[in-house]
Amino acid sequence: MELKILENIEIAQNTFSLKIDNPNLFDALAGQFFMVRINGFNYPLLRRPFSIADFNENYIEIIYRVVGEGTKILTKKKAGEFIDILGPLGNGFSDIGTGKKIFLVGGGIGVAPLIYLKNVIESQYRLPYKAYFGFNFKEEIYVDFGEIATMDGSVGFNGNVVDLVEKELDENSIVFACGPTLMLKRLAYVCYDKNCKMQVSLESRMACGIGVCLGCVVETQDGYKKVCDNGPVFDYREIVWQAL
């Protein structure tokens, strides 16, 4: 569906916020994603999967990092132009109101879907939560809540966000996490140790986003599952972390 761009601005180093007019024709869950067509040509060919950083009656927000030629071209899009999006796709986060202590743990661009999740927790569930976000350095930070860890120590905790959150977790915790694979893997081992619950939103290269290309699979206890339509959110106990 072709929707109007309201804003496409750099909000942190190499990180852009793309706000798209919400036609109010569908709902979207935190953790779901859109397949975005960069332009109407054959280069770049494939749509890009982007998580939802916010969704309200006025706009859909996507926060993306410039990692390759596709996202570089996307930064040139201006307010008033139209963009072709497919979705929302995938399953989204679930079991938010389980009575467990809620933790949002994100790293880098993986913080984006947790911003929408935070808004949902605040507006629909009215539950307390704690948020922990990791970035490499100060200039990358694009979030204005939660405790921050930076790898260079320029803001907040000096080191990895997993080390920052570890001591807070116990069997009464439920973690919603998204971030680089290595961060999630370390977090998964911590959650196994502490016997807490966790849902992870995974990233993968996809061609279609609708369950047919089978390009995005991840190894689980039940064999390969599709990140696009069996996920992108999985119970961390399902994932074969050694394979990642």
Binding site: N42, Y43, L45, R205, A207, C208, C213, L214, G223
Partner: protein
């Protein structure tokens, strides 16, 4: 639609309402696309390659984008023919289009078993024999690169099949027309070409091939001139119908395949980009024929040879 252009195409005794099919491996089992597209509009669709038993496929990473294309090494992950028959086909019983089952085996006996199982399914119109997958260790292109193997396999399937047989050919050979002739001699009702072109992408960070399978099959707009050229060559050597496939992303490219000699075309990778692209392509073909004063799509099949 006011136009009176006749888009129907015959393949053996099957009549397709238009020449546009969707390609195996890019269209799931059809059901996945019902949210985006009225399947009844299609000439038909080809299922994901089915094997005797479920296949897990290759280790990830399985895909990587390339300029105007993509490389894939899925490895024929599929649910197996029995699950397809019992779980997917019943959901397609009200669909008014031709369903072509793509089948894959590592030995002749597996292809025969698949053919026998699908013989009994009334809503399967034809079988497409995959002798061209570049991403599996056994079978696949190992059959398709050798004309003798193609002859033996096609003959064995023809002997048991109650349905028309389409042999899908690999472009990764010296002379694709020679392989097509072998399929024709063995009684194939049609050939489809091309499957993907073998390629490789190396990740300069890890200094290793990007795909876990190392090589993959290149598809997408980048490859269409190769497909058109091969259809053109094969058309001059065989009498059975050709189904053109490879990089079709708009009606202009679809028309090029038809003019090169394809009776029908298949849309593959473009389905990933735009799930309802086939509808646009059907309308584009109709509009072109109407504007150019052709009464029927059959008037342009192979016209580039005149």
């Amino acid at each position: 639609m006011a136009s009176s252009v006749n888009l129907t195409v015959k393949l053996g005794n099957i009549i397709f309402k238009n020449p546009v099919l969707t390609a195996s491996g890019t269209f799931g089992y059809g059901i996945e696309y019902q949210k985006y597209l009225d399947l009844d509009k299609l000439g038909g669709f080809v299922t994901k390659g089915l094997s005797v038993v479920e296949k897990q496929g290759n280790k990830p990473p399985r895909i990587i984008e390339t300029p105007c294309g993509m490389l894939n090494a899925i490895g024929l992950q599929n649910i197996g023919v029995d699950k397809f028959i019992f779980e997917k086909l019943p959901k397609l019983k009200d669909v008014n289009t031709h369903i072509i089952a793509n089948i894959y085996g590592s030995e002749v006996s597996e292809f025969v078993e698949l053919t026998e199982k699908l013989n009994e399914q009334d809503n399967i119109s034809a079988l497409e024999i995959n002798v061209s997958c570049p991403n599996v260790a056994q079978g696949g292109a190992l059959f398709g690169k050798d004309p003798d193997n193609v002859f033996v396999l096609t003959s064995a399937i023809k002997k048991v099949s109650k349905k028309p047989i389409i042999v899908k050919l690999t472009p990764n050979v010296d002379d694709i027309a020679f392989i097509a002739q072998a399929a024709q001699s063995a009684g194939a009702d049609a050939v489809s070409l091309i499957n993907t072109i073998t390629g490789m992408v190396i990740d300069t960070k890890t200094k290793k091939p990007f795909l876990a399978n190392k090589t993959g099959g290149l598809s997408g707009p980048a490859i269409y001139p190769v497909g058109v050229r091969m259809v053109y060559e094969v058309y001059e050597k065989i009498k059975i119908p050709i189904i053109g496939v490879g990089g079709i992303y708009n009606s202009n490219v679809a028309l090029q395949y038809l003019m090169a000699g394809a009776s029908l075309i298949q849309i593959g990778t473009a389905n990933f980009v735009k799930p309802d692209i086939s509808k646009e392509i059907i309308e584009g073909i109709r509009t072109y024929l109407d504007e150019e004063g052709f009464k029927s799509v059959s008037d342009i099949i192979g016209i580039a040879h005149n």
